[in-house]
């Protein structure tokens, strides 16, 4: 049944676009507060209530609009507040700052310097959001609206031309033309595989069968990755719009979003968005008064990493055990409930309305020869500006990590970056100038994956890193096929042994042999890519493995059995701080006399190393 608010035809939608885009002009100012997961963890919710309260008190609710937005990206500096139209950017904002912000900045146009972003190199303060290097070098196409709209307000989405791509498709384009446009754009799947999206759509459209499905894969599960989560939380309608366009092109009437239960805010915002879209007649029967009927259901997953694998995902939606099956029968022919199914990830779907609105030719102009458009990365680890960044394909690793990410904190040296999630590879500093795209990352032994990027500094042990990622993959392997289930476990066992100082000659060769079989003979992509962390660290950091095995030394000082703490006599002032803090009474020495460590007592907790102000404690 149609609701009263249902949009009856395309013109009515354009009216709404106009109405809500003009509404913005009437606002004197708007205050966008990041309510994404990162800022929420930093008390953004109480910040929002403080603003609401203050607005009420000052009676400025009419003219100044408060926006609870999705993630702005620069999570490191959260909670973030941006005051528009001047784009004044405040960082680390606390509820107690609110009165000052309202009085000074909002009502008197004065800048509060203590809340501004400070350039680390020359301590210069920056006022405007777009001038902060973190944002300046990005190209925020898909992520662009995240900091501007309230994800729970479909009206906000209308105000940024929301659903106009859908209108364009329904009035001006045949399904065939939509597919041609997506093919021409060069869009490749953002979930990891990088399969050409248009080709996938075409084979699902051409597949026999009257019932077809489209699925949005939101089972993002890589440690440290949260771009799909932030898109669903911050701009769910862009994903929904992409899916409706896909359904029209493919000939599907039912869609699913498979999202993990650990993403409660994404589920909540998506539910609100779906309900609103239904209310406006953008989902359901006869969308916008046309023949298109389509609706979306949410399917919540338990959070198994393997359920991000398309075949396992579909079995999970069906209520069966999420174990991948062999893909020789294409999903486009027989997928969910054995019907032709088209599955794309969150970011891929969100790219669709942009391509339709701005044209494939324009989209193609961004990126490299075989990787078009932008990619969102979650830049985490040992990097100054932790956060979500969206960059054009082909940008170098150096630009991402140093220009946008602000480099390595604490004056440490860059060592490696791991891209592509747990089963990606570690890329060393020699390759920092390489352009980032699907093919280049694969060529150097890593992958795009869904866009995780973990930066590591000189204090990172690469054998330990490989061991860590393998422990994750061993835990997340479904256990169906032998190489992944038992091969990865053996890899993990050997790595564990090496990091504990029990490495043997021949271990590297054995690792390589097992890794080859896991890569070649596993059933699904989880297994096939699982040895990447091992193979890439052996490829680029073989000497580190050898030092662990032959010299029984961990050069980075991470593997506890393979280094000792020692006190440099010439640097030690005899301040007694380490001695007092040592939980094992392993440090001896008189006041103002150099201390020393009794190795037999030392448990390598590292407290002495951390507390010494004179860099006298070293790892040897």
């Amino acid at each position: 049944m149609k609701t009263a608010t249902a949009i009856k035809n395309i013109d009515e939608l354009y009216e709404l676009n106009k109405k809500y885009s003009q509404r913005k002009e009437k606002w004197e100012k708007s205050v966008a507060i990041c309510a994404g997961t990162g800022c929420r963890a930093n008390k953004a919710v109480s910040l929002i209530s403080a603003f609401k309260e203050e607005f009420k008190k000052k009676n400025i609710e009419e003219n100044i609009v408060l926006k609870e937005t999705g993630c702005h990206g620069l999570c490191e500096k959260g909670p973030l507040v941006v005051i528009r139209p001047d784009n004044i950017f405040y960082q680390h904002v606390k509820p107690e700052d609110v009165i000052q912000i309202v009085d000074k900045t909002i009502l008197s146009g004065e800048i509060i310097e203590s809340l501004l972003y400070v350039l680390p190199e020359d301590k210069k303060q920056i006022v405007k959001e777009e001038e902060i290097p973190f944002y300046k070098w990005q190209k925020r196409l898909v992520f662009g609206q995240n900091g501007h709209i309230d994800p729970r307000s479909i009206e906000d989405y209308f105000g940024v031309d929301g659903y106009s791509a859908l209108a364009k498709v329904l009035t001006e384009m045949t399904p065939e033309q939509v597919i041609e446009e997506i093919e021409k754009s060069g869009l490749r799947g953002r979930g990891g595989g990088g399969f050409p999206t248009g080709r996938k759509w075409r084979s699902t459209r051409n597949a026999e069968g009257d019932i077809k499905y489209v699925i949005c894969n939101a089972d993002e599960g890589d440690p440290g990755a949260y771009m799909d989560r932030s898109l669903l939380e911050g701009n769910p309608h862009s994903v929904i719009e992409g899916m409706i366009i896909g359904a029209y092109a493919i000939g599907a009437n039912q869609g699913y979003v498979y999202v993990r239960n650990e993403y409660p805010l994404a589920v909540e915002n998506l539910l609100v968005a779906l309900e609103k879209a239904r209310e406006y007649g953008l989902l359901g029967e006869n969308i916008l008064g046309t023949d298109l009927s389509f609706d979306i259901k949410i399917s919540k997953g338990g959070g198994a990493f393997v359920c991000g694998e398309s075949t396992a995902l579909m079995l999970s939606i069906e209520g069966k055990v999420g174990e991948p099956r062999t893909k020789h029968i294409h999903t486009s022919e027989s997928g969910l409930y054995e019907r032709p199914t088209n599955l794309n990830n969150v970011e891929t779907w969100a790219n669709v309305p942009i391509i339709i609105n701005r044209g494939a030719d324009w989209y193609r102009s961004i990126g490299t020869e075989n990787s078009k458009g932008t990619k969102i990365f979650s830049l985490v680890g040992k990097v100054v500006n932790t956060g979500l960044v969206e960059v054009p394909m082909g940008i170098t690793l150096k630009q991402i990590i140093f220009d946008i990410g602000g480099g390595i904190p604490g004056g440490k040296k860059f060592k490696a970056v791991q891209t592509g999630g747990p089963s990606g590879g570690c890329i060393p500093s020699e390759l920092l100038d390489m352009p980032v795209d699907f093919d280049e990352l694969t060529r150097v032994g890593s992958m795009m994956g869904s866009g995780g990027m973990i930066v590591m500094d000189e204090d990172t042990c690469m054998v330990d890193v490989a061991r860590y990622f393998l422990s994750f993959l061993v835990e997340e392997s479904c256990g169906k096929c032998t190489p992944c289930r038992d091969g990865n476990y053996q890899l993990y066992q050997i790595l564990n042994r090496i990091t504990e100082g029990e490495g043997k000659e021949g271990d590297i060769e054995l690792l390589e042999e097992i890794a080859e079989t896991v890569r070649d003979a596993s059933l699904c992509a989880l297994g096939k890519t699982a040895p990447n962390p091992v193979l890439s660290t052996i490829r680029y950091f073989r000497d580190e493995y050898e030092k662990h095995i032959t010299d029984k030394k961990c050069p980075a000082g991470v593997c506890k059995n393979l280094f000792n703490f020692a006190i440099l006599e010439e640097k030690c002032t005899g301040c007694m701080l380490c001695l007092k803090r040592c939980p094992q009474d392993a440090i001896v020495g008189e006041r103002k006399q150099p201390h020393s460590i009794i190795q037999e007592k030392c448990i390598k907790c590292g407290i002495c190393f951390d507390v010494c102000r004179y860099d006298a404690v070293i790892k040897v």
């Binding site: 062999t326 479904c478 096929c481 079989t517 070649d520 003979a521």
Partner: protein, 259 residues
């Protein structure tokens, strides 16, 4: 030569054959009399490619470019121009490692040792594995035959990855088991062993429960469970009286009457 529709030409180890579309490489190899070892494959069930012992090296030439890769022959469909090597150096090397990994799970399996020997798989390269149930290689045949063919749903898989196990619901005896012994029959390693007891049958390994069997009206041997009979009820189209007798007595009785 004109190509027949639905017929695929494929080359395995240099020998060519024609197979109906949709056949697997394993089936084609069988046609040619070429042996490929299998463990998780059983004619009664659709192939699932989980043990990976039947991997072969596949290659295809397209526009002058040759692409080759490994895949499980039991699930890989034949396609025109596909060339298969069942015993290339790479296949042997990787099959050997897979067998070594499986031997860690099933050190007591005679049949697996025989196969492993053929490929020179050893057990001394790795530490013994303290995971899973004795001699079970998690091929999945037992619970698949129980669920997909018998329909009893008495056993299933639980846990994940290296911890995966075949168990009865909640690890207690299964009231769904009809004592058909199909799981024991399909098990490729002998991990499932069932012995006859005074009352019926009992799982010696893998699971821990007993099924009571009904006595044969003629010889008194306990041969079938009441759950089994209930399941057969009406399905076979013959008189239910016939099931009061064990198979031997049944044969004897009908042999006499038919001559």
């Amino acid at each position: 030569m004109k190509k027949e529709s639905g017929i695929i030409e494929i080359e395995i180890d240099g020998k060519k054959t024609r197979m109906p579309e949709g056949s697997s490489v394993l089936e084609a190899a069988k046609e040619l009399g070429i042996y490929i070892p299998t463990l998780c494959f059983h004619e009664a069930l659709p192939p699932q490619g989980s043990c990976r012992v039947c991997i072969v090296e596949l290659s295809i030439e397209k526009n002058g470019k040759k692409r080759s890769w490994l895949d499980a022959s039991c699930v890989y469909p034949v396609s025109d121009g596909l060339k298969v090597l069942t015993n290339s150096e790479k296949v042997i090397r990787q099959r050997r490692l897979i067998l070594e990994l499986l031997l860690l799970r099933a050190p007591g399996s005679e049949s697996l040792h025989k196969l492993a020997e053929k490929y020179g798989a050893r057990t001394d390269r790795f530490e013994p594995l303290d995971k899973g149930k004795p001699d079970c290689i998690l091929c999945g045949l037992c619970y698949r035959v129980c669920n997909e063919i018998i329909g009893a749903h008495a056993i299933g898989s639980a846990y994940r990855g290296v911890e995966k196990e075949v168990i009865t619901p909640l690890n207690v005896g299964s009231s769904n088991c009809i004592g058909c012994r199909a799981c024991e029959y399909v098990c490729p390693t002998g991990a499932i062993k069932i012995k006859e007891t005074a009352k019926g049958i009992k799982f010696e390994r893998m699971f821990d429960f007993e099924i009571t069997m009904i006595e044969c009206k003629s010889c008194g041997r306990r041969f079938v469970s009441s759950q089994y009979l209930k399941r057969l009820n009406g399905k076979s189209g013959v008189s239910e009286k016939i099931y009061e007798l064990c198979p031997e007595c049944r044969r004897k009785k009908f042999r006499v009457s038919s001559y």
